[in-house]
């Protein structure tokens, strides 16, 4: 999804949104402890709505990105609680989105590819945190 946004590809982002929404719905929480379930449900309830909006708004990339911003916050919290699944990840920050308020995103590459501004400013942003195993 993030990579679709870096390319300004609204329909690819929508497809990714639908896939992610299904993944949240189908996730089996039984493998988690009670405490983990609580945290997961809190985050997933919110995140799947953002994924749904991204999935349903192919053609309106500005609206999709608004939800991607909020979804990224959820993903960062998920990673903080449940780890990175064995892959080094990067928490990147775009200072320009939201009229200078800025926004975070999670990336699997160290190289900056901005999903909020896309092709207009592909290399805008900085790595704020390297999430190692």
């Amino acid at each position: 999804m993030k990579n679709a946004f870096t390319k300004d590809n609204t329909s690819e982002a929508a497809t990714a949104g639908k896939t992610l929404q299904a993944a949240f719905i189908n996730f089996d929480t039984k493998t988690l402890s009670a405490q983990q379930q609580k945290i997961f449900t809190d985050i997933a309830d919110d995140a799947k709505e953002h994924a749904e909006h991204i999935g349903a708004n192919g053609g309106n990339i500005a609206h999709q990105r608004e939800h991607f911003d909020m979804l990224s916050k959820d993903m960062a919290d998920l990673i903080q609680t449940f780890g990175n699944g064995g892959q080094t990840l990067y928490k990147d920050f775009c200072p320009m989105y939201n009229k200078g308020k800025g926004a975070y995103w999670i990336s699997e590459t160290k190289e900056i590819k901005n999903p909020y501004l896309g092709k207009a400013m592909p290399t805008c942003g900085t790595v704020k945190e390297e999430i190692k195993q």
Partner: protein, 154 residues
């Protein structure tokens, strides 16, 4: 009787018949403890703007205009209200988790900023729902500040 007259008569008959199919009104008459107005202490002008421009479709209490008594208007309204409440219900706002409340506040903000809400057909009939630039700025600033303060405390 000419064909034209027959068709006209049929239309009148159908129109009269559908007047008896009235959907249930969305009017609980009570303000829940989870209502937006109880969860947040918004300035009076913020709360009243939300109530005038949003609550008809996004709460348990709709102010029905006179033409809602003519069908099929009430059918269209009932559909808008049920769709609106599914996405956002100010009456039950407090029953959302804090995380969701923050998201909803930001979504409301974005919808207002992008002029996606209120919808045009609603604004056409409701003068008070046509938000001025000042009203939009007022709402956006308050929504942003509230979302930020919730984010910090969590």
């Amino acid at each position: 009787m000419s064909l034209k007259k027959k068709i006209l008569l049929l239309f009148v008959a159908v129109f009269l018949a559908i007047q008896f199919i009235i959907p249930a009104h969305n009017k609980s008459g009570q303000v829940l403890p989870t209502d937006f107005a109880k969860v947040f202490t918004a300035p009076a002008n913020v709360q009243s703007t939300l109530q005038n421009a949003c609550y008809d479709c996004h709460s348990n209490n709709t102010n029905y205009p006179w033409y809602s008594n003519i069908q099929p208007m009430a059918w269209v309204m009932a559909r808008h209200i049920s769709k609106g409440k599914a996405k956002l219900n100010f009456s039950g706002f407090g029953s959302n988790t804090t995380r969701k409340q923050i998201s909803k506040l930001k979504e409301i903000l974005n919808q207002i900023k992008d002029s996606e809400m209120p919808i045009p057909s609603y604004k056409l009939m409701h003068k008070s729902a046509r938000l001025s630039q000042d009203e939009k700025t007022l709402l956006i600033n308050w929504l942003q500040a509230t979302a930020d303060s919730l984010s910090v405390s969590n």
